[in-house]
């Protein structure tokens, strides 16, 4: 079975300049904090929000003579992520030092993997709507240390440094320049986030900075990108600028949009785009220069002599692979193919793994579409309205499943089911017991329904005449019968009896 659906590629975004049309070419470097209790090379905690400088081991503070020791769990997390992106795992990788001075970088270098990353080429399917997705190739993933935090606005004369984040493990996920619109860029980051959350390798919390992106943007004329893809020759593409450290999907889109238009304006005015690093200012909605290529640091990368090359066994990788959970693409495809859901509904249900798990619990042994409707429309609608999540939902999957069972058995109507859902939401309890105790069970005793129908027909001869002339008016009788039975009569049975008695 295919583990994902088949898609058509989306059209690249075209921006109309003053003189011609332009296309965008975008590549991302996503920095994802590895979900791990301890740092990459020390035993210090990674807990967010701790007192400043409380999660700092001697090696994190670069005390003299201290040495890094690799955290095996972080390595496993990177391998897991690589497998989740269908990427090649390099059994031998190595750590390099990236040298630069900054107060929040105590060692004076960041330990990273320039020459031999742990993960090689992979791919991500970025869903852009039913039947449409962009395939983004991953160039590599490497493991590296995060830096600390410099705080410049607490004192007019001094800066402060918090080393809690120093040495926390990051994965840098580098894409090929396969992204062709601001929306795709945001969707790509969202998809990476989704996959890593499924894997449990990154919590994806962008607000805390646990997932951030450097975005490379260039513009080119229509047709140039295809020439680049054919030849691999970057000279077909425009000069790129890198927008650093974006931690919001909305800002990523806005920054790309702004940056593309800025570059187009420069070129159309006869200027040339300068390769540089830029920062996005969300308050002004613009990017501005941080440093030019000439001012770029010479990082003097070289192999870290404190660490041996990282060698892992294929068997260890295989064990990790064997324990991989079902990933969003596979799950979505299964929901479509096995449960008959629309791609849209399957997408909604698989967005978060907790939601998908909940849905599967509801759908297990029941009608998939009906379960999907109840989860998406009733439950998600209500959760959204009340600002709750699946984890804080007052209605459990077992309860919602019970409601669906009662509908399927014909014990309650859809309308009663909504009342029951309300009771479960506010009071809780066992659905079947509530229906029983509160007399909500719908009447399927045909004799009783027939008596009610007869009664209504006898009492309303004029309506009978009208209905016989215009069968659409039979609904009036159905409504009257349901009213008379307190909504508990099985609507299907009432419909059938009304039609029969009226001779329709």
């Amino acid at each position: 079975m295919l583990d994902h659906l088949t898609y058509a590629a989306p059209q690249p975004k075209v921006i109309q300049g003053a003189k011609s049309d332009w296309e965008l070419v975008i590549g991302l470097e996503v920095h994802a904090q590895i979900a791990s209790k301890a740092k990459l090379f020390s035993g210090a905690s990674t807990e967010f929000g701790a007192e400043p400088n409380s999660n700092v081991a001697f090696v994190d503070a670069a005390m003299p003579g201290m040495l890094p020791v690799i955290n095996e769990f972080c390595v496993a997390q990177a391998v897991r992520t690589g497998l989740g992106l269908k990427a090649a795992i390099n059994l031998r990788s190595a750590f390099d030092r990236k040298n630069y001075f900054y107060p929040d970088l105590p060692q004076g270098y960041q330990i990273s993997q320039l020459y031999h990353p742990i993960v090689g080429e992979g791919e991500v399917i970025v869903d852009m709507g039913p039947g449409i997705a962009r395939r983004v190739r991953i160039e590599r993933i490497h493991i590296e240390q995060d830096a600390g935090k410099s705080i410049h606005d607490m004192d007019p004369n001094m800066s402060f440094v918090d080393l809690n984040r120093t040495g926390v493990a990051l994965m840098e996920i580098v894409s090929r320049p396969d992204i062709r619109s601001p929306e795709e860029a945001a969707a790509y980051v969202a998809k990476l986030r989704q996959i890593m959350r499924y894997l449990g390798t990154c919590d994806g919390n962008m607000q805390n900075g646990n997932l951030r992106a450097d975005v490379n943007v260039s513009v080119c004329k229509p047709g140039d990108y295809e020439r680049f893809m054919e030849t691999g020759d970057f000279s077909h593409l425009g000069t790129r600028c890198e927008i650093k450290n974006m931690n919001s999907l909305r800002f990523i889109q806005a920054a790309i949009e702004y940056e593309a238009r800025r570059q187009i304006a420069i070129i159309e005015d006869g200027g040339t785009v300068v390769q540089e690093t830029r920062l996005y200012d969300p308050d002004r909605g613009e990017t501005r220069s941080m440093r030019s290529k000439e001012e770029a640091h010479d990082y003097r990368y070289f192999p870290d002599p404190d660490l041996l090359p990282l060698e892992i066994d294929q068997a260890w990788v295989d064990d990790i692979a064997a324990a991989m959970p079902e990933l969003p693409d596979q799950k979505k495809a299964r929901f479509v193919k096995d449960l008959g859901l629309s791609e849209y509904d399957a997408g909604v249900l698989t967005a978060e793994v907790e939601n998908a798990d909940y849905f599967e619990a509801v759908a297990s042994g029941r009608d998939g579409k009906m379960a999907a409707n109840w989860v998406i429309n009733e439950l998600f609608g209500r959760l959204n309205k009340e600002g709750l999540t699946i984890a804080t939902s007052p209605v459990t999957a077992a309860q919602l499943g019970g409601v669906i069972d009662l509908i399927a058995k014909g014990d309650i109507s859809g309308k009663i089911a909504k009342d029951l859902f309300e009771i479960l939401w506010t009071e809780g309890g066992d659905p079947a017991a509530i229906v029983e105790a509160r007399g909500m069970k719908q009447v399927t005793d045909l004799g009783a329904i027939e008596a009610a129908v007869d009664e209504i027909i006898t009492a309303n001869p004029a309506q009978v005449e009208k209905a016989r002339a215009n069968p659409k008016l039979a609904g009036w009788f159905v409504g009257q019968v349901l009213k008379a039975t307190g909504g508990k009569a099985n609507p299907a049975a009432v419909n059938a009896l009304v039609a029969q008695k009226l001779g329709l």
Binding site: L67, I70, P103, F302, P305
Partner: protein
Amino acid sequence: MTKPNSLTIAEAREALRKGDLTSIELTEACLTAIEGAGALNAFVHCTPDMARDMARAADQRIRAGEATAMTGIPVGVKDVFCVKGVPSQAGSRILQGFTPEYESTVTRNLWDAGAVMLGKLNQDEFAMGSTNESSCYGPAVNPWRGPGGTQLTPGGSSGGSAAAVAADLCLGATGTDTGGSIRQPAAFTGTVGLKPTYGRVSRWGVIAYASSLDQAGPMTRTVRDAAIMLGAMASADPQDSTCADLPVPDFEAALTGDIRGKRIGIPREYRVEGLPDAIDALWRRGAEMLRDAGAEIVDISLPHTKYALPAYYVIAPAEASSNLARYDGVRYGYRARLSQGDGITEMYEKTRAEGFGPEVQRRIMIGTYVLSAGFYDAYYNRARKVRALIRRDFDQAFAAGIDSILAPATPSAAFPLGSVDKGDPVQMYLNDVFTVTLNLAGLPGIAVPVGQDAQGLPLGLQLFGRPFEEGDLLNQAQVLERAAGFVAKPDRWW
């Protein structure tokens, strides 16, 4: 009777076990000797209270019958080792005021074995130098004097350690050897210095100079003492990823005195242009001694030897430029006084300009240069390739059945302090010509005093061994030591 502080470790061990001597007596003798040896400038920080506490604890342990080979033995520690609660500056102003909250693995092992901490020993700043003159404490002075009482360098970088052991201020000392910093000072002072195989001894808590070359080892008065002390210093260490996960053998047990059938190589590339006759003669004599003891002397070739020095002076500064980046005045140690309006860049620049001495600054600049874009392949990568070829030279020699290699330790005897032209650091670097190959290859080597020059100054030879076969190496070294019968001691002038 020999003064307690002049005993060898092995002799002191016997006396302690027999109850002829207590550790506190031994320790007091050393403390007195240190007090009287200010002129040598060997100890830069003495820890008498700590020493007495440790000595008393050692005496209890000895009485309880729980002594190990090093229990109660007073030692000095090169300043580069972090000792908890004791200033540890690696001879640099930039670590002024730094007192570690942690204990290096080597010193932890020594204290666990019951050794007694006498204090911190002088060294070249960050172990960069061959004369001990780059120390922020001023140079250590060789207890041996030249003609007319000329003050000589004890060598470097472990100059304080060598001077202290030669002058009987301690029974043994720790050193570190990145390009010869244990073996050259040992040769200059008539003592024994062992650089173990890279990975035999943990680097955790040792202030780094060049991580892929640095290795700690013992400096002692005899080969047996080196075997005893190495046994206490070495351990596997999960905190140092480059430390070998190997059991520590009983090195002393390897000292059988029997080297019959050993094949000892004489590398022709070490017969360098301008090698003084005295050194050449010593080398020949050393070979004869080993032959007389039943070893087979074989001429061998280590063809890439001549590239070792340039490769070393690329790799070591490259690593140093990165290792020393952490000394920035932000978190500990020296921070320059800043002027109004100075920012972080000025803080870095002033702190590092004032905190590092000229030799350290020179090596940081060389290292920064060889790693920079456009020069990396020409310098650093080429040096790494040379390094691999140098290691291959040794591997091939060992594969051809060679057990060890005999070479001079230094191109000369100790020379006067201040005699190396400050304008020509290469002259100083040439001192390392016989020693750096071993660090590049990661192999064990030991310097043994074998003779004296015309002025009566000690001269040493070194033996290189197979990786992680220090026991075998020590055994051959002890045969050489016994045959040479070097017993001379410097006249006490300090």
